[in-house]
């Protein structure tokens, strides 16, 4: 059988895994691989301008398509530049492969040029990692890596590939099957547990579905809709699950937690049965733990046993895949709970404390978000940066479909949105893709304007520009006596974003008046180019309501008492 190099084996293995796009940046120890890539017709290679951009792009691609995102960087600084992107994917359980070149095996541990202990550094922030020391292990390692990344609770897997392994020759056999004796994720839920959950639901008077990102990862949105409508149980979603349940449905409570709706938080605090599906009781959601859902029996359906009873004691756990379990659970419910009074109580709360902002003639960020939603008819894919921009996007878009909201929830990485939007647009070219950004966040990966323009990836960036690091400024206003310590990046000290966009060959637009918002968004969408819109919004607008850190979630600022 013909022998090929490790570099070719890598390329052929990626093709076997049906990888369509590879995001990355070359370097010395990747020369063998890049030489093979030069003649390759697939996968398509997207050169970013920073390795962090490659990692976030692979992440955005994965979130938008459901496929495994793949990025590649060279050794040393190339690999360390991927760290934030890998950690971002890890915290949100995104299936991703990060390939890093490494110095030759005989040099590892020698403090060689551009050497870094990548397996050591990425160990705590990856689902698993591999250092391939022998070319004969390369193909099977790649197969295992992809399997680990996409199965069970998904996550990023790092493959560290020394340059001499890329140059070594071996026969290429891509394994047909993969079996890891120490890793067997559970898919089907225990029948007995499902029966117990069904009984608890039948008896409940004030049940709530608390839905997390796991429902989107599992592709369980249809099963969720079916069971919610059958049982008439209201549904609240976490930040990473926006779109898992259509917000146009009267059972939708919107987002819960620190910046969730008042009615979602009150529903949870008042409920007698909380059915958590694919969520992990994160501190942004629970607020003060010993005051969280104190009247409720807690059901937890999740694929990861370590998430169960980690923060909140669970009464009935059920380990497995959300899609599988929700399907069986729906069948097991013989009598629907009587939720009429509960739903009318919630409808009352919705009337008393809807999400709201001041509607005057000033240019406010919530209006910009609503207009983007309206003009794109809710069919766009929205990526966000982190902070106020992220919260306003979560609150003011009407989320209807899964895989349309790409946001760094767990790690909260500023600079995530723009490269993620690029990855998403490449994965779903038929969709309009917007990045909702802040003036601080957008500067973190602004160099990716070159990536977008040169690859004709027509992403639209909406900067909600208030001249501040908005979310931190809000906390300083509310809890630190308005002592704005190093959060003022005001217009005078900010770059001229329009000129900056144009310098990269993108289109730049500026909006300073509310009446010009609509036209700018329409122009941006029409333009066959990457477009950046600098919206000069009200400087000290706050995200409301807000649960202060460490408070119970029904004690909101800006919500009902």
């Amino acid at each position: 059988m013909k022998k090929i190099t490790g570099a070719e084996i890598l390329l052929e293995s990626l093709k076997k895994e049906k990888v369509e796009i590879l995001f990355g940046y070359p370097g010395g120890v990747l020369l063998p691989f890049f030489d093979k890539l030069y003649d390759a017709k697939e996968p398509r290679f997207i050169l970013t301008r920073h390795e962090q951009g490659a990692a976030h792009a692979a992440d955005g691609y994965a979130r938008a398509t459901g496929k495994v995102g793949v990025c590649i960087a060279t050794s040393g600084p190339g690999a360390t530049n991927l760290i934030t992107g890998i950690a971002t994917a890890y915290m949100d359980s995104i299936p991703m492969i990060a390939i890093t070149g490494q110095v030759g095996t005989h040099l590892i541990g020698n403090d060689a040029f551009q050497e870094a202990d990548v397996t050591g550094i990425t160990r705590p922030i990856s689902k698993h990692n591999f250092l391939v020391k022998d070319v004969k292990d390369l193909a099977s390692t790649i197969k295992e890596a992809f399997y680990i990344a996409r199965s069970g609770r998904p996550g990023p897997v790092v493959i560290d590939l020394p340059v001499d392994v890329q140059k070594a020759y071996f026969e290429f056999h891509y394994p047909k099957e993969v079996k890891i004796r120490s890793y067997c994720p559970t898919t089907e839920g225990h029948k007995g547990q499902i029966k117990r959950i069904a009984k608890a639901i039948e008896k409940a008077k004030k049940p709530v579905f608390y839905v997390g990102g796991g429902v989107i990862l599992s592709g369980a949105n249809e099963e969720l809709l079916e069971i919610a409508e059958k049982t008439q149980i209201p549904v609240t979603t976490t930040l990473t699950a926006m779109g898992a349940f259509p917000e146009t449905n009267p059972l939708s409570l919107g987002m819960l937690g620190m910046h969730g709706t008042a009615y979602a938080n009150h529903a949870v605090q008042d409920s007698d049965l909380l059915v958590a599906v694919g969520s992990r009781f994160d501190d942004r959601v629970t607020g003060k733990l010993d005051e969280f859902a104190t009247h409720a029996k807690i059901i937890h359906i999740d694929i990861d046993p370590s998430s169960v009873s980690k923060n909140v004691a669970v009464d009935i756990p059920c380990i497995g895949d959300a899609k599988c379990i929700l399907k069986e659970l729906s069948k097991a419910i013989k009598k629907n709970p009587d939720t009429k009074n509960w739903l009318s109580k919630i409808a009352d709360w919705k009337k008393k404390a809807p999400l709201t902002y001041k509607k005057d003639d000033k240019l406010r960020p919530q209006y910009v978000v609503e207009e983007i939603d309206r003009i794109t008819k809710g069919n766009a894919i929205i990526a966000t940066e982190v902070g106020q921009n992220q919260m306003w996007a979560a609150q003011y878009f009407t989320w209807k479909k899964p895989r349309t909201f790409l946001t760094s929830g767990g790690l909260g990485t500023m600079g995530y949105g723009f490269p993620a939007a690029i990855g998403a647009k490449l994965g779903r070219p038929d969709k309009i893709v917007f990045d909702i950004a802040g003036d601080g966040s957008i500067q973190m990966n602004i160099q990716e304007l070159a990536t977008a323009v040169s690859n004709k990836v027509h992403v639209k960036i909406a900067i909600l520009n208030n001249g501040y690091l908005g979310m931190v400024r809000q906390w300083q206003e509310l809890f630190f006596d308005k002592r704005y310590s190093h959060t003022n990046i005001d217009i005078a000290n900010c770059p001229d974003f329009v000129k900056l966009a144009e310098s990269y060959g993108a289109m730049g637009l500026r909006v300073t008046k509310k009446k010009d918002v609509r036209a700018a968004i329409e122009k941006a969408i029409k333009e066959p180019n990457t477009v950046l819109i600098d919206f000069r919004i009200e400087r000290e607008e706050n995200v409301m309501p807000m649960v202060p850190a460490g408070q119970a979630i029904n004690r909101m600022i800006g919500g009902m008492a």
């Binding site: 050591g120 160990r123 705590p124 120490s182 046993p305 370590s306 980690k310």
Partner: protein, 86 residues
């Protein structure tokens, strides 16, 4: 707080010890004692560790260990050890 004894079967590969040690240090669990040895199957190693924790934390430790790709099985030896010693 109590001392618990866990026997963990792992893949005999480089990095596995670092992974387990990293898991413990990252979450603030303390390892009181640790013994690692190859088993009759050279591809499998056995780690016997004594950890100091409360019941709730021990449950999390066992779950987090099981989550690791290279961990084959986790067995709580505490009761057996107590029987032997008590």
């Amino acid at each position: 707080m109590k001392k618990f004894t866990l026997s963990v079967l792992v893949e005999n590969k480089f990095g596995v010890l670092a992974r387990i040690a990293g898991l413990f240090s990252a979450r603030g669990y303390n390892i009181c004692s640790l013994n690692v040895d190859e088993t009759e199957d050279p591809s499998i190693s056995k780690m016997v560790m004594v950890v100091e924790a409360d019941e709730k934390t021990l449950e999390q430790i066992k779950k987090q260990l099981n989550k690791l790709i290279d961990v084959i099985r986790v067995v709580d030896l505490t009761k057996e050890k107590e029987k032997k010693n008590g």
